[in-house]
Amino acid sequence: MKVLVAVKRVVDYNVKIRVKADKSGVETANVKMSMNPFDEIGVEEAVRLKEAGTATEIVAVSIGPQACQETIRTALAMGADRGILVKTDDEVQPLGVAKIFKALVEKEAPDLVLMGKQAIDDDSNQTGQMLAGLLGWPQATFLSKVELGDGSATMTREIDGGLETISVKMPCVGTVDLRLNTPRYASLPNIMKAKKKPIETIELGDLGVDTAPRLTTVSVEDPPARQAGVMVPDVAALVDKLRNEAKVI
């Protein structure tokens, strides 16, 4: 069974981002970049499926500039077998990403595509659902447990009120949530081994997919700042403030 896993290169989750002075976006030059945390969970799940003998091949895919090679290398060091970089310096929005993945799925014929529930830069939470729709495949979003069977999969999802289990036909698209697993750190020998694993580079233009952005960013601004608060000396003072100043209790 072949698994395609999406790995997006994003600003590291620990970085305090800064909005550009001209309001055109967020400063990404000279900022630490990492694999989207949800995608690490996707890679980990794929590797576990391989270790369990369910998956036979794991292909890690990233779309973006040349530097996304590093993100793919991280996935290879965690245990993916090979990588595909779809190279472009242009912005690709979720619908475009989904269309690119559709083209790759048609080429690679995987049984399962794993993506993150959301990318922590655009916070869209769209791409996996869009890909499943374009392929006419079922989708299992916000996964907290994956059990693959013969021709179908039993998937447990994090939903508003708790957990839901559904059964979906294979092939399918899964999007992973935080509690599915804890991703491993790549060991030094595996990082060395990953350097020899193949990465295929495809120029976006050669795929013949329309990825022109449909959404235009008019401006990006800082969120409204909160007024500085006060420290209270003790519980009695706190309750007094809440009752008589804020009037919320």
């Binding site: 967020v26 922590i120 939470n125 659902q129 957990l163 289990t165 235009t216 960013t217 008019v218 601004e221």
Partner: protein
């Protein structure tokens, strides 16, 4: 402008998230149709007819939509979406799961989790865990949108009197089926619409200690929330998580106990009206957003707070 609002409901009534979505629809302006789909959802459709500004309610009562599985539900929405300029749903599991699929099948982009309406084509949405606000304009003929409940007032319910029409189910694509669910039961108000939220973090130290949070929430008539670290440690169920990847809340009062204030947590609560933080580390970043900060050991402060509140 003609707007389709996909209702979030519990089969008997629409949920608060739907009221916020109606407010967003009102700000876009135009005729509003509400779709209520589910199994045995006639009462919810009647309830939706009382939403302010609603012109028509479409009720699709079928076991096919009992759990809003994305494949069949998207097929239903697709069948009618072409009649509208905007399709809106609350940014709850149902909306987040289904609408991107609808958008892709219509070959249009989607706007997730909007927090503001500028005009019929232009919307504000948080990015980078709410550390930046993007104003985004859509060029598509149909705008597919999910609405952040905490960012819009709840529409005043009860003034509308729309007609309810039955809508026939769409063909079942037969790709998925419901197996079961485990829902956390609680008598407390719902987290995303509660007036008061009391949240505990890793500082609580154990699931046992987490009962302090519950007791405090009950005294204040509030809901219970948690940080991711508290959920991961098993102190609280996953649907209690507040933050970038959990629930977004904006109550009148948010009390954070033993929570450090990581940006991913702040993303879910920094729009609360009044924020109280109790933490023993005076450097904890949560104090930078708190209106009232108390540097104290929570195992002393929380029982003292309970006693002080009990005095009335």
């Amino acid at each position: 402008m003609s707007i389709l609002v996909i209702a979030d409901h519990d089969t008997t009534a629409v949920r608060q998230s739907t009221l916020a979505t109606m407010t967003a629809a009102g700000q876009i302006g135009g005729d509003v149709t509400v779709l209520v789909a589910g199994e045995g959802c006639k009462a919810a459709a009647e309830d939706a007819a009382k939403l302010p500004g609603v012109a028509k309610v479409l009720c699709c009562d079928s076991p096919l939509y009992a759990h809003h599985l994305a494949e069949s539900f998207a097929a239903l929405i697709l069948g009618i979406a072409k009649d509208y300029t905007h399709v809106l749903a609350p940014a709850v599991t149902m909306g987040k799961n289904t609408l991107p699929r609808v958008a892709a099948l219509l070959d249009v982009a989607m706007l997730s989790d909007i927090s503001g309406v500028v005009d019929a084509d232009t919307f504000v949405r948080p990015i980078y865990a709410g550390n930046a606000m993007a104003t985004v304009k859509s060029a598509d003929a149909i705008k597919i949108i999910t609405v952040r409940g905490a960012s819009f007032d709840k529409a005043e319910h009860g003034s509308g009197s729309a007609t309810v029409e039955d809508l026939a189910p769409a063909e079942d694509p037969g790709l998925s089926s419901f197996v079961g669910q485990e829902l956390s039961k609680s008598e407390r108000p719902e987290l995303t619409s509660a007036r008061v939220v009391v949240s505990g973090g890793r500082g609580m130290g154990s699931g046992e200690n987490f009962h302090h949070i519950e007791k405090l929430a009950d005294q204040l008539g509030g809901a219970v929330g948690a940080s991711r670290a508290a959920v991961d440690a098993g102190y609280a169920p996953n649907d209690f998580q507040v933050g970038q990847t959990g629930k977004i809340v904006a109550p009148d009062l948010y009390v954070a106990v033993g929570i450090s204030g990581a940006i991913q947590h702040l993303a879910g609560m920094k729009d609360s009206k009044v924020i109280v933080a109790i933490n023993k580390d005076e450097e904890a970043p949560i104090f930078q957003v708190a209106d009232y900060g108390l540097v104290a050991d929570l195992f002393e402060a929380v029982p003292a707070l309970e006693a002080e509140l009990a005095k009335g």
